[in-house]
Symmetry: D2
Subunit: 135 residues, 4 copies
């Protein structure tokens, strides 16, 4: 699936997709890049993006990377996700890049790195496993 | 901190605490139990609670368990969290119980189990590490 | 499978099972308890059991819990494992208890807690996912 | 620390370092590459390297990356490690590369990718957190 198709698929499936602030900017086989516009919706006191907002971004990135690689399977589900919070993010948009480390018939495993836009050091890293339903 | 003090602390610190649907129902040394009322806010298509909503509940439970044990330290931060999604939750309120496996001077580690209210089998399990700031 | 059958299955399948120091002491549906005799084999400088030795014990516990519940499937494999090292273990035998949080047709998820024998506070906790082969 | 200094430090600190089959081949600030010669020591039935042997390699890589960056602190300890087993490794030497995602005063977080020598697709991926003792 292309980035355009993925954005349309998300908007059709999730009533509140617009409110997440997330856009899929690039999609390829086993790779996606997403941007999350950070509004006050996800900010903690002190102006930083909350951990759960970063988790949602990482989970969405992994879901999008699976869909980009195997096509629109709405029922792919997260089996588990392990996330490391590395440093306080700037109050700035976040970029998430996900690469699939494995793409099996039933399980996909991906690595997600999240940066504040324009910064080198990552603010969070996650790895997760998705179960892919049989057709 | 008591459950009552924790609820007041959360409401004072997080502008949108009310919207999370979370209440701390019980708090003791190294233990808390939380309830999350599930509204349409966190529901995925199909009527189930989303993964990120369960992550938020697990993260809040661990934060509350740390505060219950060491007092109001707003700056305690999640170092990492690993969450397993075990089965599709019913469209019903969720109960999270968190026990601290370790409470050191600088790091606390806790285990969180999430159930749909009235069900025995857990819908999610998480373990996480919190960094506790020096005074 | 009973504890006795599990010990025999392990000894037959792993040429160096004896050298691990591990015995399955109790087995039930979705539960096992193992003991690891700690010799100098697995000790770090300072006399404590090494992290990799505790990982091996946790991984074996999860494998045994799966076999105890679904029968002898040698080809069940670890998908992932997340382990927390909580405190320095005493130079003493270790007890691992594993409970399956989920036992699906294809995936099992278990929680493992490791104690030094005779101590209350756990030295390590792990959660892991196993893939169960189709027959 | 250089690769040479790291190998000497490991050999001096761990009586059975030689038996692990591990050599640190390259070390830089926040990066190391290790090789593990796989003998029958770590092979499972079927001739593949065992999960615990890959865990030991990942844990050693993270420890070496911390030492390479902060100097010889024998007492740095693993706080947690999350490992994904991606595919059956060939019965061949393994290469592990570790990059530190964060190097704080007290905590370091690293990402480890393990390949069979000469293969592109990784056989395992791990992320872990190390606690760095105060001087």
């Amino acid at each position: 699936m292309t980035a355009e198709a993925l954005n349309a698929f998300m908007a059709a499936g999730f009533a509140k997709w617009d409110r997440t602030g997330i856009t899929i900017e690039e999609a390829a086989h086993r790779f996606v890049r997403l941007k999350m516009v950070t509004g006050d919706r996800s900010l903690r006191p002190g102006g930083t993006v909350s951990g759960p907002a970063m988790f949602m971004l990482a989970d969405t990135a992994l879901y999008a990377a699976v869909l980009a690689s195997v096509g629109p399977k709405a029922l792919a589900v997260t089996v588990n996700m392990s996330i490391n919070f590395l440093r306080k993010p700037e109050p700035r948009d976040l970029i998430a890049e996900c690469r699939l480390l494995k793409l099996g018939r039933r399980l996909a495993v991906g690595d997600v790195v999240i940066h504040s836009e324009g910064e080198d050091e990552p603010v969070a890293q996650a790895t997760g496993t998705y179960a892919i339903p049989a057709d």
